[in-house]
Symmetry: D2
């Protein structure tokens, strides 16, 4: 029987078997399920084909890993190969981010605190260092731990270590990663004097501090190429963190207030929400790579509702939709809000980020590193 | 053989069977597993015993539901039956919350946005109306949807409704709950004039707005006893929301800025973190009931680290620990940070909140409603 | 604007707000979200309305709990209030289950091993004792632990007890429930002589044992009204367990073979699959209540594929669909296979069974107990 | 301060910060958290170090992926490099598996049905073809779909395809993989004649069929090197499937019974449980790699309880422990039962198998392929 929906790509023997009627099935279905065949390897594994071709033909979450690679590569193609028109540039001049350099595709990267706690922080830093992304969004922990890591190492521990014993040792547990209380001590010694200066600038020059300004200032002060935010500062990549006070930064604002008669700096979140929203609505195209969920993911999607949706979107997290939390929402929930454009092949990959991010980057951004360097980092 | 660790409470026939050696097993183990016996009901179900006695003896998550009831009842006992000393009162005078009325146990209630989207909002409002809790923490959506619900109903839908079709109808999906875009329209008509007034007050009276002040102002303006935040305002219960700009409130701050040459109100998060931390460290005892996870849960725990830990703690969420996110952390991770005191029987119940919250309240706060009214709401 | 799809049931003020177009939204959407209002209770909670009316209007998983109650009540209505025709009876005579008494709706109840380990076992027993269900399916542990519980108590423990310490004490952990090795000892003393007799019957009378025959025999021998399978035997309710050898029963078949020159009884699974499939295809209507997932759930659905689908279906488990396992499949996956009829409002409730089963039974089967007794247990 | 527990391996600057007391922390903690540094790559990614060294130092689930590689390599080392003593061989002669060839480490591989549905089937086949594993355990779907795949392709689809539309087309959905009903038709045409012959052999030669015998027979008949079970048959690797009738094989036993007056073959599960248990208890060392959970995982662990535990163990699945199901149990629950030896570094990796299995094999079995071929496949 005829099967005109499939452009001849679907294996005909599949359809010969079934009495297919006239239901429209998406063309993506035309991939036969096939895994990587180690028996055909001649001594070495071809990771490029294992991670792309076979991943997408394997089914289950491997399919979504394959799709995530495709979608991220589309982001990169748009960014590196697209062209901006004069009209684009006129609109983009309204984006009031210092030294903003528009490209045909603005890539938002969001991540939760644990991504920075873990070794995935080095991957984030790599992306920021090479100007591969345009805007960062994270929660308080995702900001402060990057700085602490410049001051003291974290170590791999166990999820099962006893809390009371760790507490007695002044060792804190974040999943299976351990931080020493001493890291907080060093952070305090470094951060409080910065706050002193910032408060002085607020009083004397009328500076209105916002989370994004604070983070760039911290990035400037840390002056360490191991830091994500050093590079964000250097490369004029804005970092938004509406809930920034929820963690050590908040703690130190609290402490700092005691040094100054109960008042630390003013930290205004209203200006920042204007900034990220303008960035979204004035970009020609926008793309999001959201690692983990919660506020950091939602903030990227919410900002893009004002442009009637992201053009490209990849979400990687372990959250489920059944409890109605935004964290676990399928991309299609975002479509109803206009956070993602209808028709976009938004990908949700269910995985712990640490398992897939390095592999994803190896098959996408890394392959175009030289072009990023030449085109965007050169000046 | 003898089994002195169990105080004779453990069924001796259990231990007769095993050659138990000298390992210390907690006394809680002494409950035989037994379910509710409907066959013994005489026509009617005794929900009180089903929900307490049998729950805790059933094993699996029912055990934790039973423990959550016990722990919340402990919070209430401490609060209603405890006494404050003069020293307590001296310390508590430092809590700079207007009209703060200390009790021997400060109860923090946190909840994610979806809890307010769903009908669980009525349960939260009930607790706030009767002064059963002392401090609220939520994210942006958990604030704004309470107000929208005063303006337009939400309806129960399906998780599977197609995003593009809903978008075409201007209907937004939150899990299986639907909001109309019109609710946003009404919210805008109501909120923008309030922001106008607030901006005027900022300019003329030098008011420094914070999320907690903004929320109380909104609660005052809505003037509707269906609202959680109307009651929070009325009852002087502070509401913290460090990431408040992540949602419709942020959107309207953005919109409002266009009415006023690019500047809306200043919204300072630094003052608020001082406020919640002081509340935690100056309370004689603290307890937390965290519904859902993310920033709202973490913010409560983080504030309590500064007093070396919560005295009582119940977490209800569906998040898992394996990805190292704070959302899914077991309470024992909080112990390592000093967010929860060592030795506290902190309960983590794995459940969608909508399934258990009404039942939990029916077996705890509701049973003491009259006392709450007499003791705390009378003045 | 007009909204003819909703029959006037949807609150008009919801739709006034949105510019609704011509998309068809199911009528179920017409419920406004509303939670239980404790403030309106006069001293006592009305659990009936809390668990039905409000549950279904709350959104999130509470909606599905409300739907599960509706669906199970439909099963009961069909069963108790329906009529069998002569044609039905003719077909049902092919069901070769001893003393089979057909009703207009055959209810399959499946459950995983942990449901029997926990106190939910008493709920299962209640349903079987009162002939409220027609066919049971479980895995090996779901069979054997019912018998062990007649011999020795299990106790509530902790998920975090150390395995090596428990092993040294000969205490086994099943989640947060503890079994003593002694229970296994008693089981052995009881079971091996039964196997001796069964082997003799096989040799002398040519009995071909199957899991369902073995379980009924065990139910007869235990002769204890606390046992699920005692009642299954008494009430001629078949129990299927294709993977029955995976657990203590398998272990004892292994042990028994050493008593008899390497051969224990023959345990044929082929006859049982014929039996359950005939039961499904010759019933007038079929319904399934599947507690937990895995083989026990799949076996019920698979059998019903041969009648082109269940007429009513409620699944309660915590499994997710993303890894493609049948356990986490949404009911709609079953529709593609013809395991569930298209158009059936199959409910998937995401919850630990221990939290919701007693409440579900209290609002469904329990309310009709007298009718079940009169109509089905009388003879 | 001194930190003698760490053998100088822990970065001293970590501990200088904390006032570490005398708590014993495992030596594994000595790895500083560090991610892969793409900035240091010279044009090419070194996947070997990314997947081993960096994985284990990244924290979160990446750590467990790194540990899984280590643990599987230990299985291989024991198997290929160990030596059997005469005593070993004497004991192993009791393992009544035809042509059984013992090695110093017996590796059990279990997998759920979806692993065979997906392209991961090719990875399993590779392991079996090269005699890299010694015993397979799966459920019914994990057996039959391997054969169907020899007859008709499966294709990658979408989780969201509508069940009723697929049903109308006679296309079945397994997660995001589609099967045609025609595949079942072809399977029927092939399988029923085999059952005819088997029934004849049962009647004439008194063969007592078991799942393991049936699967080998099917593997022989399919005679196709694409099949897992063709190689299992060829290489004398036993395949156990206690719940084998739960799926298409069960369906066809049902159908077959109508061809033969209501009786198909007898399929005895009691003999198989003796076989797998003897295999476990008479092996010098045992190791398990369990992909997915449910009956297939439990059956491997249960069999090994009779030797007081596995010596090496890797579990990869997405199940959680909170509902008390064996599927989500941490390995330490198995230790309490003696299913895993105390002190074994059993690894539980939380991941969809399709994302990690090919990478795991590329870093373990694949690297020793030649040795496997020379040592075990040569004869």
């Amino acid at each position: 029987m005829s099967n005109s929906n499939f452009d001849g790509k679907l294996p005909p023997e599949f359809w010969d078997l079934a009495s297919v009627k006239d239901v429209t099935i998406p063309k993506e279905l035309s991939k036969p399920v096939v895994g990587y065949d180690f028996a055909k390897c001649d001594g070495a594994v071809d990771y490029d084909s294992l991670l792309t071709e076979y991943a997408s033909s394997t089914g289950l979450q491997a399919t979504f890993f394959g799709k995530a690679i495709e979608e991220v590569n589309k982001m990169i193609n748009w960014k590196l190969d697209g062209e901006l028109t004069e009209d684009d540039l006129k609109l983009q001049s309204e984006i009031t981010i210092e030294n903003w350099k528009p490209t045909p595709c603005t890539i938002f990267l969001s991540y939760t605190s644990n991504i920075v706690t873990a070794g995935t922080r080095e991957i984030i830093r790599y992306l920021v260092q090479h100007k591969m992304v345009d805007c960062l969004v994270s929660t308080g922990g995702g900001i402060e731990e990057d700085f602490m890591k410049c001051m003291a190492p974290l170590v791999v521990g166990e999820f099962t270590l006893k809390g009371s014993e760790l507490f007695d040792q002044a060792v804190f547990r974040n999943g299976n990663v351990l931080l020493s209380d001493g890291a907080y001590g060093r952070f305090e010694n470094w951060f409080i004097p910065i706050l002193d200066k910032m408060l002085e600038e607020e009083k004397e020059q009328g500076t209105l501090w916002t989370p994004s300004k604070l983070i760039h200032r911290m990035g400037k002060e840390i002056n360490d190429p191991k830091s994500i935010y050093y590079w964000a500062y250097k490369n004029n990549i804005p970092v938004f963190s509406p809930g920034i006070t929820d963690g050590a930064i908040g703690d130190h604002l609290f402490l700092h207030s005691f040094k100054h008669d109960g008042r630390t700096i003013t930290l205004d979140v209203a200006s920042d929400v204007r900034k990220i929203t303008m960035l979204a609505i004035r970009s020609s195209n926008t793309a999001a790579l959201c690692l983990g969920a919660g506020v950091s993911k939602h903030h990227v999607l919410n900002a893009n509702a004002w442009r009637l949706g992201l053009d490209l979107c990849v979400l990687i997290n372990t959250a489920q939709e059944f409890d109605g939390c935004d964290s676990g929402a399928r991309p299609d929930e975002g479509v109803s809000w206009g956070k993602i454009k209808a028709g976009v092949h938004a990908v949700k990959l269910f995985s712990d980020v640490s398992l897939v991010l390095p592999l994803l980057v190896s098959q996408t951004f890394f392959k175009r590193q030289e072009e990023f360097s030449n085109k965007l980092c050169a000046e």
